[in-house]
Symmetry: D2
Subunit: 353 residues, 4 copies
């Protein structure tokens, strides 16, 4: 079968791989809609090391074409939303604290696509633990909204969850790309008062306001820390890092109040180094909580997010502003993600078979 | 000075009391806007025992006219929002868990008005621990919005907080009176998906939808439990009891899923008895959490709620649909609260001096 | 194969059933040590309805004799500790909140033995999701200690977990049978100060003190509520119900302070009815949290409990004070559990093949 | 009055200051037992900037000699335990999250001694908010045990609280000085299994084991990270930093598992800089929680810790292994703290008047 991926670092194109066959708990799907993600692009340029011969893509809605003999909840023909993070639920790894990072196997081991097997930019792709990881697409939810739950909304909302928001808190979101926009929407649905988005692109800023941002702050208008402190009278309860660079973490530490929270969902380059002077941590006494985490997986989480959409609380599909049609348009969508034109928020490809 | 209150059970009218004088940490205020509450009415009919000679009222925005010598944050002339629950912060009582029920003094001991001294339907009223309990009225927030934070919003949102809502949860709110309406708004700002309001009055139902209810269910249309289960495909994560009778608790126990939560903010009559068959508790094994609690107090909580209003997340002032003007209209507003005409949501009285 | 169980209500004996065969994720074990539980006895007398033809028993250490083709972590010959609660981890049911009560299947659906298939008082027994539910017996942990983690320690410690204990809290444990004793040990390891055990049997009282109880209170010495309040100067933070009757819940509600917690691990008879007057709930305002829950399952939990034992924090094997040897002694051990002689704490049977 | 303190950086001795007079909520005490702390020494060498003319000391048990007119719970003659951290409870600052860092005033503003007024190495010293901050010494608790709750136990136990320990977790404590030893005791009372203390001094190691450490690891025996991983089979749930240097944080990040917690109670020098490579944070995806915090204050916390001692859960007084008698021995005790002889754990001075 055909799939779009990387032959080697910095060399992408159509690969020809064997069609996957399902293990007893697996399902095989055909993609109906996919979205390239900046982490696909990052990987293609070597961000995850010298990967070779790997089909890319991890955001998809698909149609089940085959299931393993132990799968009972899904059958060929089912249209399913597929979480980007599909834990193996059959061991100890997911029984404690956070299932995304299996405790007995290792960091991000619940992220199967691209790490353990091919991704979703293929004619067929495999999903492990299908009964636990797949979600039936609700009729009332658009394909676009469904697709955006699989990573962008799940990750952005996780940023808001880790930020430990209480009613009336003031929250700063670093980055107003698709994950930052979803963190803004998540913060609004967690009871934040001020939600300040940090970014500069006009269409992202407009969508940020639609999702609940009360102010947009740009480095072009002065020091970010000062601007955020002024808006909130120096009461910033939480910062969510969903973009930027290592300096963003320093800025967050500088602006967040004692007792506050810093939540990170940004995937850092392996070469990044954080230099944190002790005073920014209140000499160790500030009671600021810092946590970075990976998008939680599993079907129930996605089902919960879809429930929010069905009840009109949020529509993540609005992120998609570059829409392509046809399996053969995947490279074009991927390229636009790589080039990031100034008005791009998130591209997708609708696929007909 | 004059104040509207109860001479004895079932006998209300204008009382003549001494103007209060401030202790070192107290402030004395004049009311600028007040709202009668069903608990004022309840007390007047003997619901809190044989109270005599007590000025009623505990929801107010007022103007500071005098402060004790230790008060540093407020001065005469300040327009303040006054929490209905004003804990004494200077002892152990508020240092653990929930400040509303002081741990070393007793149940609801943070509720000072009506229990320990006169209420706010008076020419002057006293607020203890002024620096900790008063909140400066923000210019941008309407008097009505401010007034509704003091009890209705704080209590309703507490119902939502105790309900332990996560993104995408389905929530049922028993009662769509003013507290229930605020519980609905609170549930929406906590990330609920379905929010089902139980009630029958049309204008409450309309406002419930505006605050975030997705469905309104009435006993007139059939069994409440069945209706709620059908809407949610039998997945009710939390119930918030903000009205109804002891049967509501039974219904909540019947409909909530194992692992769910029942939160109560309804003030029960001392004569009420709950008869709970063990199967409704899953024979003790259902992992359903049950908690009833009292409106948290203190200035910071109200400041946080005002911050939500300033950022346009919710406008509790919409509850006020019977508006009176003039100190002498307090009895009329009180009477309408007592008689509860079918279209009443919440009355208030604006006062000019 | 032979197994000891119930032909019908009130009729127990040796049944002859087919040896179970493993599904792909299952393991088949032979018991090496088992313990009858009061819930086995309860069921035999009809406490779970008109069950027929069911092999009893759910506490065991066993030897793997056969595994399904997808089991990778265990193999024939492995000596394993078997949780009494063995969730099916392959669906949505265990992905949210508490795995013990699967959210999409129903109350206690993670309790497989006795409900969905035969128990462990058999020559062979089946364990579902073996990789996720079995735990290798550590060499350094005695068979007795291992056996007592499977239900008694897991349940008792869950009682302490639900009791939300903080350093220096005062805790009352209703019942000093095996589960109550483990709740006492759990409360001590959660940082409780006073731990008052309620009970009368002398050997249980002695063991309670060994596990961390500071006082033992008996109804024979006066009113239980008064005694507990006196010891703690009326500061009881949490009550754990691990025995007694419906009156115990009333006593707990009477003694616990506002803001406190009541945790229940007692399995109530379906005919029990709780009659709770509203004042015992502070008229709905007391901020007391009430939760009853079922023993959590899964291998990781048991592995964690075994880790406590390996590090000498607690030795639950001391509960076993009636020890039998030989598969054919199961009926005798069961009978002693049924008759409950005054000095019985917990019986077990060591089995040789 | 006389007091031992610093004239300027690096110049300590007896100062002559005015006897403090109480404000309305204050108490004035005479010290009965005091302990120098490494932070007193740190300050004397300029660690908190160019402080001049300040009486040192913040750990004390004292006798009330005078109270302000609003103090109702204490009177002259009362023997009291005095928390080192004495928040001002009468404002918004202590109403949210963590009272130690007042949210509206600033970092560590609840630490009054040495920052806002003289410390306890004086003939008389002042305690603000006496009703909320003082604790009556229980007759059954030794002066030494009482003294050690005020900072060492409160801080060490806070390290364990922030470490988010669950039953059976493996915990590493960096540093086995007095705070580290208390973190070990706190971890044991929080249900940890392995508790590994990192340090080298033999008497501290012995006491660490008495308080619950299962292993002591020294850099002299090899790489610390490797040793800790080997002991726990690479399952370290939490690290508590209670000593060491910036490298300790790097080691903690290296050894803690994904989903784990790092808790810091070490007071860092203002010149310290943490250099953290992104891979140590799992590229931002590891779900490791990092928090450093300051000793919580207030009377209730100390009362809770005393309750643990009264019930024989722990005896922090064992830390005191250099004991002096007489007010005039304070300089000697201070000097020993400064010089830190190898066998020093913690010095104290008993004072007679």
């Amino acid at each position: 079968m055909k799939g779009f991926g990387m032959f080697e670092v910095d060399k992408v194109g159509w690969l020809e791989h064997e069609k996957p066959t399902p293990g007893p708990n697996d399902a095989i799907l055909r993609p109906l809609m996919v979205a390239p993600c900046s982490s696909d692009v990052h990987m293609s340029h070597g961000g995850s090391g010298p990967v070779t011969d790997m089909i890319l893509g991890h955001e998809s809605v698909g149609e089940v074409v085959e299931v393993g003999e132990l799968v009972t909840q899904f059958k060929p023909g089912d249209i399913c939303v597929v979480p980007c993070c599909t834990p193996h639920w059959g061991g100890y790894g997911t029984q404690e604290r956070f299932a995304n990072n299996a405790h007995d196997t290792g960091l991000m081991h619940s992220f199967k696509f691209l790490q353990f097997w091919d991704g979703v930019f293929a004619e067929y792709y495999k999903v492990n633990d299908a009964d636990a990881n797949l979600v039936l697409k609700p009729d009332q939810v658009s394909m676009e909204d469904c697709l955006m739950t699989t990573d962008m909304m799940s990750t952005g909302f996780y940023g808001a969850e880790m930020a430990n928001i209480h009613y009336g808190d003031n929250v700063v979101v670093f980055g107003i790309g698709p994950v930052g926009l979803m963190a803004i929407a998540g913060a609004a649905l967690a009871g934040a008062a001020h939600i300040i988005g940090i970014g500069t692109r006009p269409n992202c800023a407009a969508l940020a306001r639609e999702y609940g941002a009360t102010e947009i702050v740009s480095y072009k208008d002065g020091d970010l820390v000062e601007q955020c402190k002024e808006i909130t009278h120096d009461h910033i309860d939480s910062c969510i890092i969903a973009g930027g660079n290592t300096g963003s973490v320093i800025q967050a530490l500088t602006m967040v109040k004692p007792n506050g929270t810093i939540s990170n969902v940004n995937y850092w380059d392996a070469s990044a180094i954080f230099q944190v002077p002790a005073p920014l941590l209140g000499l160790g006494m500030s009671d600021v909580t810092i946590r970075g985490g990976f998008c939680p997986g599993g079907g129930l989480r996605i089902a919960k997010l879809l429930n929010l959409i069905e009840n009109d609380r949020v529509h993540p599909g609005k992120l998609l502003n570059y829409k392509y049609e046809g399996f053969d348009k995947i490279p074009e969508a991927f390229q636009v993600m790589d080039e990031k034109p100034r008005d791009l928020i998130k591209p997708c490809v609708k696929i007909y078979w």
